[in-house]
Amino acid sequence: MLQAILDHFNYWIAIFLMMIGFYTVVARGNLVKKLVGLNIFQTSVFLLYISMGKVIGGTAPILDDRFQIYSNPIPHVLILTAIVVGVATTALGLGLIVRIRESYGTIEEDELDLADGET
């Protein structure tokens, strides 16, 4: 049992982070904290991808005569794209938060709902 968990520790870490992030997005009322939660959530998926690219005994995927086994670089490249997407999302989210703060004077969700007349 323990061995089964340890063998797949990368998946456990990914799931653990994923749930932390997801919980933060759902449970926190502060928009910045929500965005931080969203970031953790996304990062957990990045880790999932990156860890799957590791080939045991493999080296960095730079072609060289001395090595035969390389790690799989494709997940890394994919995640590079996903990270850029994540950065764009964060920047846009923070931009929205700044403007929400300027027009409402608050970034707490319950206060925003009150200001909009929704209870």
């Binding site: 997801f22 959530f41 991808y49 764009a88 999302t89």
Partner: protein
């Protein structure tokens, strides 16, 4: 230079993609509009050519950068996505034709060129999702279209647009990340990202729990993006507070494209047998779809803002589409694709008409629209036609959708579904009637007596869309032929 027609799948995406930075460089609203309009018109021409080729010569495959699949990114066009490409690019073109006056009124002067930049970027994303044959590429384009649509929605005039955009950003990102997890799990299991290759490799490992988990993540993620009940909470505010042109474009296209991806993954990659026999996808989709039909329509009845009302109506309409998908038959899939096409036309017409009203009276509240039937007769004609189409009255596009949907339900021996469809259409009658009643049978509220008809530049595209609703209610050859062909391809699991 070789024959351009071979490169159509790539041009479909990269022409709008290049237009986006050009709009940014243009710096002025007028020039940016010309670039955006030219790009979307070119995209429409490309989509029409692709549709023609797929109908006559079958599926087209294009290898990005000359790298053959499964190593390179492959763009695949068959009739299923040719319909989507045609719908998205045509709606974008008409909405852009509609937009200059509307944008000049609703968007801050300094950022109007940015509006067009974001608009074509959103178009690029949506076209890219439809055209690509690579699972990860779908995610990238999904995020391109989503990020630009968050920005577009935030450009709405009221401050609630900001919170609506933020809410959509959170929900949309969660949906896209779920999709990403699913694709990652599939990559772990198959070692490929090419859809056709994935399909071949997945066939032998369908009992694996990882594949089932991947399927669940992808379905939930896409359902969030497609605003399938109960994951629709982001949609009403996003549609209601976005600028008029954005509402019209996104309402007509964004959720439809997500539904297309759901179709693609369910039928082409996983296969109908896996999704509907090994797993109970039919019930997973059918129950929320039926609830959506009623909850969406009921919520629509109680809305005071017409844009919000139409947004809830979209939730109900997405219910119809999902219902058709859940039948998993050839007739059901045809009905789904036909309704995707027709619903795009209806909602674009209705939201454009709302744009005309907003342009003149500065609000879309139903009480403020009282008596507009006499003051803005043409806009109101468009609304009535769109509304009738939404109800499914004969001679409109909506009737064709409902007809195929009912037939598909009957074919599956689900006669009670037919009753439910009829009942929920009655609910649609209630909210459309509220609108008609206010427009034609009430006196205008004080201060708004002098409203005039919207300018021609907005009116003509709106009427064109309304006319399309009538046209495709009479001449159903194009959507029906493409949808039936696509349904056969999807059920056979071909790309």
């Amino acid at each position: 230079m070789a024959d351009l027609s071979v490169h159509l799948p790539a041009l479909q995406v990269v022409v709008p993609l290049v237009a986006a930075p050009l709009c940014l460089l243009a710096g002025r609203a007028g020039l940016a509009w010309i670039i955006a309009f030219a790009a979307s018109a070119a995209a429409t021409a490309t989509a029409a050519a692709l549709a023609y080729i797929t109908i006559h010569n079958g599926t087209i495959s294009y290898h990005m950068g000359g790298w053959p699949p499964p190593w390179g990114i492959e763009y695949v066009v068959d009739t299923a996505n040719a319909v989507i490409l045609l719908l998205v690019s045509a709606i974008a073109t008409v909405v852009l034709a509609f937009s200059p006056a509307s944008v000049a009124k609703e968007i801050r002067p300094g950022s109007q060129h940015l509006f067009y930049c974001m608009f074509v970027l959103c178009l690029t994303g949506l076209l890219g999702i439809a055209v690509t044959g690579d699972a990860f590429n779908v995610f990238v384009f999904l995020e391109i279209s989503s990020l630009s649509s968050y920005a577009l929605i935030a450009m709405g005039g009221q401050r609630k647009a900001l919170t609506a955009a933020f809410q959509y950003l959170i929900m949309g990102t969660i949906g896209a990340t779920f999709f990403l997890i699913g694709v990652g799990l599939l990559y772990i299991m198959t070692g490929t990202l090419n859809m056709a290759d994935m399909q071949a490799r997945i066939a032998g490992i369908q009992d694996s729990r990882t594949v089932v988990a991947a399927f669940a993540f992808i379905t939930v993620g896409l359902a969030l993006k497609a605003a399938l009940f109960p994951l629709h909470l982001w949609l009403p505010n996003a549609y209601a507070f976005a600028p008029s042109a954005v509402s019209a474009f996104i309402a007509a296209t964004a959720t439809k494209v997500s539904l297309y991806v759901l179709l693609r993954f369910t039928f082409t990659i996983f296969g109908a047998k896996f999704a509907f026999l090994n797993l109970p996808l039919n019930w997973v989709l059918l129950v929320p779809a039926v609830i959506a039909m009623f909850a969406g329509s009921l919520s629509a009845i109680f809305q005071r803002d017409v844009k919000r009302m139409l947004a809830y109506s979209s939730v109900a309409q997405i219910g119809y589409i999902t219902l058709a998908i859940s039948l998993a038959s050839s007739a059901g899939l045809s009905a789904a694709l036909i309704h995707i096409f027709n619903h795009g036309l209806m909602k674009a017409a209705l939201f454009c008409a709302m744009g005309c009203i907003f342009y003149r009276i500065g609000t879309t509240r139903i009480d403020d629209m009282a008596g507009l039937g006499r003051q803005m007769p043409w806009t109101m004609t468009a609304i009535v036609i769109g509304g009738l189409s939404l109800l499914g009255v004969p001679l409109t596009a909506g009737f064709i959708s409902k007809w195929y949907l009912v037939q598909a339900a009957l074919q599956a021996d689900l006669w009670w579904l037919v009753i439910l469809i009829a009942l929920s259409s009655m609910l649609a009658l209630v909210y459309i009637w509220r609108l008609v009643e206010a427009m034609y049978f009430k006196a205008p509220p004080p201060g708004l007596e002098g409203a005039r008809e919207a300018p021609l530049s907005m009116l003509l595209p709106t009427l064109f869309l309304a006319g399309a609703n009538i046209y495709f209610g009479l001449d159903t050859r194009l959507p029906v032929a493409m949808a039936e062909n696509a349904a056969t391809l999807l059920l056979r699991g071909q790309m």
